[in-house]
């Protein structure tokens, strides 16, 4: 733990020094007759290209070009640095031309999704680690189907052994939808551990059940809890994958627009 804290402190310190140096140089360049926007623009372009290399690094795992974890750290801190350079480049002013708006939005979208992804990738994994079991995201539909089969089998067994339709009706009325498929629930992203309300309903229902029905109800409540955890995995892992659906395409669009911006700036900027 100490090692991680020290590493983060070292990284943050390095990042702060780089930002400070860049800020000093920016102030110096701005003070002169040289157009600082060209310098910040090229610096921003270089940072964006470096950031985009991270995805290429993952594809070139066979090459000895550093560990992926190091690249991820580099990606995160370079991204934060790029945001600072972007602020210096634009002066916090909004663009006017449509294509400039597209570039501005693509950068802001990329940076925003990157920051969100960074936050989620730092806060959500512990939640997954604290769950009862680890689940592979792609198999979640399969596990959901298994849970549904178990629940349905349990209700059938309960009806056959107790001659009571109560659990069956409860399942049909309140639980069938829960077990139908993996469900995205934003509540799983909240600060507290969320357990589906169907679980609580079953616990509350227990007082009205006959003694021979209660074991089935408890087992069914366990399945509800397990389904709730499954949905938590589905939501959390889904989010950890979904933000890349914003981040990566916007990065590609931003690169394209940035090249156009660079050409136009030099062609018309007279530099």
């Amino acid at each position: 733990m100490m090692r991680f804290a020290k590493r983060r402190q070292a990284n943050l310190t390095t990042w702060a020094i780089v930002v400070l140096i860049a800020g000093v140089l920016f102030a110096a360049v701005s003070a002169g007759l040289t157009r600082a926007s060209f310098w910040t623009g090229w610096l921003l372009m270089a940072a964006v290209v470096l950031l985009s290399l991270y995805s290429q690094r993952k594809r070139l795992s066979m090459l000895p070009i550093g560990r992926a974890a190091v690249w991820l750290q580099l990606h995160a801190y370079t991204g934060a640095f790029a945001i600072v350079v972007f602020v210096a480049h634009t002066g916090l002013s909004l663009p006017d031309a449509p294509l400039e708006w597209l570039l501005w939005l693509s950068f802001v979208g990329t940076a925003g999704s990157g920051l969100a992804g960074l936050y989620w990738s730092r806060t959500l994994p512990p939640r997954l680690a604290n769950a009862d079991e680890e689940l592979i995201f792609e198999r979640i539909p399969l596990f959901a189907a298994r849970l549904r089969q178990r629940a349905e089998q349990l209700v059938v067994d309960a009806a056959a052994q107790t001659d009571s339709p109560l659990l069956g009706e409860h399942y049909r009325t309140h639980l069938a939808e829960l077990f139908m498929a993996p469900q995205w629930r934003w509540r799983h992203l909240g600060p507290t551990h969320y357990v589906t309300r169907q679980h609580d309903r079953l616990i509350a229902l227990e007082r009205y059940l006959a003694d021979d029905e209660k074991p089935f109800a408890r087992e069914l409540a366990g399945l509800c809890r397990q389904k709730s955890d499954l949905d938590m995995h589905f939501t959390v892992q889904g989010l950890l994958k979904a933000w890349l659906f914003v981040h990566v395409p916007l990065t590609a669009a931003m690169l394209l627009l940035a090249v156009l911006h660079l050409v136009a700036a030099h062609a018309f900027g007279g530099a």
Partner: protein, 744 residues
């Protein structure tokens, strides 16, 4: 404890190919096949195993992950009996993300092509609206040297195939904006002046110092866009320049106006005044002597310029005229009040031979105007050189050659008078053009001749050389007449036409006799009884205040009869030509008389006319209007006090009008304090305006610092300093007159 969902042993954790494009469509239902879709997304469902022959039987080979060997086993012909039902493969998450990237790229590229393909391409990449002053510019090519809208043109312009792009782009600015002959040079000046040393710290802001370390040599030429940033919106101030941009080039840097800015060593008195006016003596003495006519405040003589920036001196009539108008008219002069124009040079008639008639009492030198007119004769130059050190009135020690030159001079002068008499002002113009070597404009002709009256020349000729025409004819025929001293007649009495005192010499009686062989009798005939027809009537003989030139004190001791003589000089008090004995004089018609002014200007360019510039000459121009010589030695008369046109820009500019309300009881004296001890008048001993002593004490920086602090009136460089220095006039549009415009 619920049964765990995820198993990680190889039997309970089949591989579902999440890294491939397609995954089994039944993955969610739990009965996906092991084969999986192919790379193109086609379902690979079919037999679950490939049975192998084991003796005479076929054996099922289904793997344990899928339930192991089936109960029924293969069919008799060896075909698997367990067929996996087909599915509709799904895209993997990875493939979906890749598709999202491709779709976004395609959409972005499409938008770019769409945006740049039309005539609206410029507005699609325009980084911001133009300033209001440029709002009528509606195409990029008007300002940007980049030509064409193709991608190749943009790339060529952006990366190196157009090395002069920055400069070329600026030329578009210069199409409308005149900033001098070196517009892209620092301060628009081909040669930069040196700045004064900084006081105190010579370090500028750290950003500037660091900039100089990174960029030790500021790039030149300095493109317009370096300071004037366009596309910043309609309300942007294109002229806003931060202090750091000024400091980055200056070797003598300083922190700010408050700290380190040089003291005002001579500001605002960087040269002597153009008009010679001693504030100290006027305020200390003259105004006290003439309190009625003295101005009551500074505004009596000074007025704000129309643009409010500078203070100007009021016109002569509003400021100096009350006391000095008479000086120009020559009222206080003891001698002649008119400027000497054409004058008969005095000659030693005892030694100059064969010049015919010559006024006996002519004793003047060649006047500047006479000499200039003689210079129109190509042969005069040699005469002038020969007579350079000769006193024409005393030729005793002159060589025969010099005496001969004096004879030539006399005939040249007579020819000049004859030419002026016969051709009038045209002869003067022709002589002046020949002497100056260039044609004169109509205005110059008018101002240089002063519209010399022909009748006055006739009168002068008759008085100076009564037989001029005959003499010249004889001279040109080779029969030079002997020298004959002539005494002109006295002024004709105004009250008594028959008064003999007007003609004092018998010889003149003979000359003007009707029976005279000289043929002048008809000149004096008065057949009509009209005085105007009589050449000697009216004002023919001026110079009333010089006494009677024909009186002979030895011959006639009796008192002269009292006659009322005509004072031509007084008659010309409002200006004009008059005859003063042997000189045609011009009396200035008040201040700024065009004739005197033009001849004074001419005198600055002609050494022969240098005497005209004397301060005590009639007109007294150079008493107040200083003479200045530039670096090439060309002298000019400073007719006007300092005036800065609105188009003229200097390094330092002070807007007087915006400071008026800030002045206390000291008023103008807050900044302009008269130095009574300064030898101001000595400044005009020479003609170099930079060598001077001001009438005022130098302005101190502390006066400005009272208000110009960072938190008060500000200390921006641009508050007082201009970057572009020079006289910049708005460029007129080159409007071609067309028929449609003419008839609209």
């Amino acid at each position: 404890m619920s049964e765990r969902l995820q198993g990680f042993d190889y039997q309970s954790s089949p591989y579902h190919r999440p890294n491939q494009k397609w995954v089994c469509g039944r993955l969610g239902s739990g009965d996906c096949c092991t084969i999986g879709p192919d790379p193109k997304g086609h379902c690979g469902a079919g037999p679950q195993c490939k049975p192998v022959r084991d003796g005479d039987r076929w054996r099922c080979t289904r793997g344990p992950l899928h339930g192991g060997p089936c109960n029924n086993g293969p069919q008799a012909d060896g075909i698997c009996a367990c067929l996996t039902p087909p599915c509709r493969p799904k895209r993997s998450w990875k493939y979906r993300r890749k598709l999202a990237v491709r779709s976004t790229l395609t959409a972005t590229l499409g938008l770019i092509v769409l945006a740049l393909a039309g005539t609206w391409a410029g507005s699609m990449v325009e980084p911001g609206h133009l300033a209001a002053a440029h709002s009528t510019i509606d195409d990029c090519e008007s300002c940007h040297a980049t030509t064409g809208r193709s991608a190749s043109a943009w790339l060529a312009a952006a990366f190196g195939q157009h090395p002069n792009l920055p400069v070329d782009t600026q030329h578009a600015c210069l199409t409308c904006h005149d900033v001098g002959e070196a517009p892209l040079a620092p301060h628009s000046l081909a040669t930069l002046p040196t700045a004064g040393p900084a006081q105190g710290s010579t370090l500028g802001p750290w950003t500037v110092e660091l900039n100089r370390m990174v960029f030790p040599d500021p790039e030149t030429p300095i493109a317009c866009g370096t300071c004037h940033q366009e596309h910043e919106g309609a309300s942007a101030d294109l002229r806003a320049v931060p202090d750091s941009q000024c400091q980055v080039c200056h070797d003598q840097r300083f922190g700010s106006f408050v700290s380190g800015h040089p003291e005002f060593s001579d500001y605002p008195y960087d040269r002597r005044t153009r008009i010679i006016f001693d504030h100290a003596s006027h305020l200390g003495k003259h105004f006290a002597d003439e309190p009625e006519q003295a101005p009551q405040s500074c505004s009596g003589c000074h007025v704000t310029a129309t643009d409010g920036r500078t203070m100007e001196v009021r016109g002569f009539d509003d400021s100096c005229g009350a006391c000095h108008a008479g000086d120009i008219a020559g009222n206080a002069l003891a001698g002649p009040k008119g400027v000497a124009g054409l004058a008969v040079p005095g000659l030693d008639l005892t030694l100059v031979e064969n010049i015919g008639q010559w006024p006996e009492f002519a004793d003047g030198d060649l006047t500047p105007m006479t000499e200039l007119l003689l210079m129109g004769d190509p042969e005069y130059a040699s005469v002038r050189d020969t007579l350079a050190d000769v006193d024409l009135l005393d030729l005793d020690s002159a060589t025969p050659e010099q005496r001969g030159a004096a004879t030539t001079l006399a005939w040249q002068f007579k020819a000049l008078v004859d030419a002026i008499q016969s051709k009038g002002s045209q002869a003067v113009v022709q002589r002046l053009e020949a002497a100056l070597g260039h044609p004169l404009t109509t205005d110059e002709q008018r101002r240089l001749t002063g519209l010399l009256p022909a009748s006055l020349v006739d009168t002068a000729q008759a008085q100076w050389f009564p037989s001029l025409t005959d003499e010249l004819n004889n001279h040109r025929a080779g029969n030079a007449p002997a020298t004959e001293a002539v005494r002109p007649m006295a002024d004709e009495p105004e009250a008594d036409d028959d008064n003999d005192a007007a003609v004092a010499d018998d010889e003149f009686d003979a000359l003007f006799s009707e029976d005279s062989d000289e043929g002048f009798g008809d000149l004096f005939a008065d057949d009509t009884g009209d005085e105007s027809g009589d050449l000697f009537g009216g004002d023919l003989f001026g110079g009333g205040d010089v006494g009677d030139p024909f009186a002979d004190p030895q011959e006639d001791a009796s008192p002269e009869p009292e006659v009322a003589t005509i004072n031509h000089e007084e008659r010309m008090a409002l200006g004009g030509w008059y005859l003063d004995e042997f000189t045609l004089r011009y009396r200035p018609a008040g201040h700024a008389d065009p004739v005197v002014r033009t001849w004074t200007e001419l005198a600055t360019r002609q050494p022969a006319a240098e005497d005209w510039l004397a301060p005590d000459n009639p007109g007294a121009c150079t008493q107040c209007h200083s003479l200045e010589s530039d670096a090439s030695g060309v002298t000019s008369v400073q007719w006007l006090a300092k005036r800065i046109p609105a188009t003229e820009h200097h390094f330092t500019e002070f807007d007087h009008s915006t400071h008026f309300s800030l002045l206390g009881d000291a008023g103008c004296g807050t900044c302009h304090q008269i130095d009574n001890e300064a030898p101001y008048a000595d400044s005009f001993d020479g003609r170099d305006p930079s060598q001077f002593t001001s009438n005022f004490a130098a302005l101190e920086k502390t006066v400005c610092l009272d208000c110009h602090q960072p938190d008060q009136a500000g200390t921006d460089c641009a508050s007082c300093h201009r970057y572009h220095v020079g006289d910049f006039k708005a460029t007129m549009p080159n409007t071609q007159l067309s028929r449609s415009q003419a008839t609209r």
